[in-house]
């Protein structure tokens, strides 16, 4: 209860509530621009959070995620171009409704379903992460090492079909993590005599490079998106009869979003498409799906908004980011010297409870801002793409400069962006690289500390109960992921062979 009241104190005696509104606003605007994913909108803000109080910074970033998921549905409905990946499922029926002159109704359904989903997800987040506060004190260096290994074990599910490429990305992340002073002896490693590298490469710089710069390098050659009509700028909230009809698909979306959100690598896009498919299966009017069904908007929109909260379950409880957006939020914690995981509940409970409160405010802010934001969003969607790219780049480099007033760090971020471009071209997933950067230090330092404590005996990792449990869980996850990957690759081969024979 003390932790709860300190969280509420932090929330109300800081800039966290205005931060929640600002984050939602920024997220909706960012999400409404096709090509700007929630993670990019968050990455652009990340350097600016450096000087903020931890609660304000985390609430601002998490609220951006909430806002971006709704923002993504705006161009999906108006111009059939999803602003975010997870809004792709909404584009089908949303655009059909817009063509029938019901764009405002579709946007209203998206807003309300998103609100219900976001609040449902928040309840799940609080209930699921709370018990972990109890085991936090049992964490020792071997347990932290095991926690890092557990994080690495989810790489298979984040690898997008190629475990080798996922592991390659993670190894590259570890290479970044090992630049700077050695955590035990202080010996400089891979600094090339450059003083800027002695303190290591901050995960924040890798994230901005991989998500913002890489995306712009890719976007520059992509064709411009369609224009939205200003005449569509009127949002209509669903009436009581419609709300009754939307109850079932919203509930389906919420349940699916919960399951997918807590599963690393699944995320909002998978959740939205699964929710669409299940809502159609359970609908009394499945024939309307694909032709402008309100249920086909409610299900995916509630699902991807549930994920904005439930994706934080593995992050807050185990320190494992299951999605790009969760990785950026993790960057926000690290910027303030906070390591998500069980000890976070002991070391900075006010941040955790402040985040819960901030997410509640963010969902209310989404409703309020969503009601009035449509006209600015349409204006933004209609801005020329060349200027969008130019301003996003300028904002990214200015944000990076603002951290340590270092041009060297801008150069580093550009370099990481180029690496991200090459990796993306080679279909190497980027998220395992972030995982490597973030977990590298934790794994190495705690492994070596554990060995120092045990006099070099490896048994310490199995005699410590928490460590043993986490290592066993990592083993189960790895075996399951490998089995799943093998099965998927076998069925893909079968399909490919059939295509070749045909």
């Amino acid at each position: 209860m003390d932790a709860f009241s300190s969280g509420m104190h932090a929330l109300f005696h800081s800039w966290a509530i205005p931060g929640a509104f600002a984050g939602v606003l920024w997220g909706i605007l960012g999400g409404a621009i096709p090509g700007i994913s929630p993670s990019i909108a968050m990455a652009l803000l990340l350097p600016l959070t450096y000087a903020m109080e931890p609660v304000t910074a985390i609430v601002l970033l998490a609220s951006t995620y909430v806002g971006a998921e709704y923002g993504g549905s705006i161009p999906a409905i108006l111009i059939r171009t999803p602003g975010t990946n997870s809004a792709a499922a909404t584009a089908v029926d949303g655009y059909e409704m817009a063509r029938q002159g019901r764009a405002g109704e579709a946007l209203g359904i998206s807003l309300i379903a998103g609100l219900v989903g976001g609040l449902f997800g928040l309840v799940v987040l609080v209930l699921a992460t709370e018990p972990l506060a109890m085991v936090a004190l049992a964490f020792t260096p071997p347990a932290y090492f095991a926690l890092g290994i557990l994080g690495i074990s989810v790489i298979a599910s984040l690898s997008g079909g190629s475990l080798i490429k996922g592991l390659l990305a993670a190894a590259l992340g570890l290479i970044f993590a090992m630049v700077g002073s050695d955590p035990v002896s202080g010996v400089p490693r891979f600094t090339f005599g450059h003083p800027d590298l002695l303190g290591g490469i901050k995960p924040l710089l890798v994230m901005v490079g991989l998500f913002a710069i890489t995306e712009m390098l890719v976007q520059i050659s992509q064709p411009a998106w369609a224009k939205a009509s200003a005449g569509q700028a009127r949002l209509t909230l669903p009436n009581r009869a419609m709300l009754r009809r939307l109850f079932k698909p919203t509930a389906i979306g919420s349940v699916i979003g919960t399951v997918e959100g807590v599963t690393p690598g699944a995320g909002g896009t998978v959740a939205a498409f699964m929710a669409y498919s299940e809502a159609k299966r359970w609908s009394n009017h499945p024939e309307e799906f694909g032709k402008g069904s309100p249920e086909a908007i409610a299900a995916p929109e509630s699902a991807n908004n549930v994920v904005t909260a439930t994706a934080l379950v593995p992050l807050l409880s185990l320190g494992i980011p299951g999605s790009n957006s969760a990785a950026i939020l993790l960057g926000g914690f690290l910027v303030h010297g906070l390591q998500p995981g069980p000890m976070l509940f002991q070391r900075a409970p006010e941040v955790v409870y402040g985040l819960y409160g901030g997410l509640l405010v963010a969902n209310i802010a989404m409703l309020l801002i969503g009601l009035v934001i449509l006209t600015p969003c349409i204006w933004l969607v209609n801005r020329p793409k060349p200027w969008m790219i130019a301003f996003i780049l300028a904002l990214a480099v200015s944000g990076v400069y603002s951290i340590h007033q270092s041009m060297f760090e801008i150069g580093l971020v550009v370099g990481v962006g180029v690496l991200g471009y090459i990796l993306r071209f080679c279909k190497v997933p980027l998220l395992p690289m972030v995982l490597g950067v973030v977990l590298g230090f934790m794994i190495e330092s705690n492994y070596r500390r554990s060995l120092l404590l045990s006099g070099g005996e490896l048994q310490i990792f199995v005699t410590d109960k928490v460590s043993l449990g986490l290592l066993a869980l990592a083993l189960v996850l790895t075996v399951y992921s490998l089995w799943h990957e093998l099965r998927k690759s076998r069925s893909a081969k079968l399909v490919a062979n059939k295509e070749v024979q045909a």
Binding site: I220, S221, L393
Partner: protein
Amino acid sequence: MRVEPVDFTLGVLTILTAGAYLALAGQIPHSLLSDEVGPSGLPNAVGWALVALGALLAARSVRPGPAAGTRPAAEAGGAGDDEFAGGMRAHRMAFALLVMLSLYVVVTPLLGYIASTALLLGGVALFSGAPKGRMLALVAVLGALALWLLFDALLAIPLPVGSLWSGG
């Protein structure tokens, strides 16, 4: 036999990178304060893991079956993707953007934040298709001023003035 060129090249590059990394890891000095694992322990492990991953990737890219042209599109590496559908044009544009960003890093200490950011904004917008004219220059300069106001005036972050103007 068919070879996935992107995966094969990536595999070979990974092995070469790992070799260079292992050579660098071998130069990490030893310390009397060091533990059993030492500062080069994990770098060596990662280096050898990269060698193995590169070899696996290269080996997996050579497969029995029809030539590359007949394989299903879904299996094709990199270049077959929608986001890189522009082929070499996409890479050229990305490279040009990289050059502009690199120039920004070099000229900012000289020209200062406002001038170099205006050049970056105008240059990137022009290159990616914005029409030439007074409007381009105006938006670039006003945009740079707005960003300067946000960071320098509002967030109190000192931005480079430029050695050319300050005489430094």
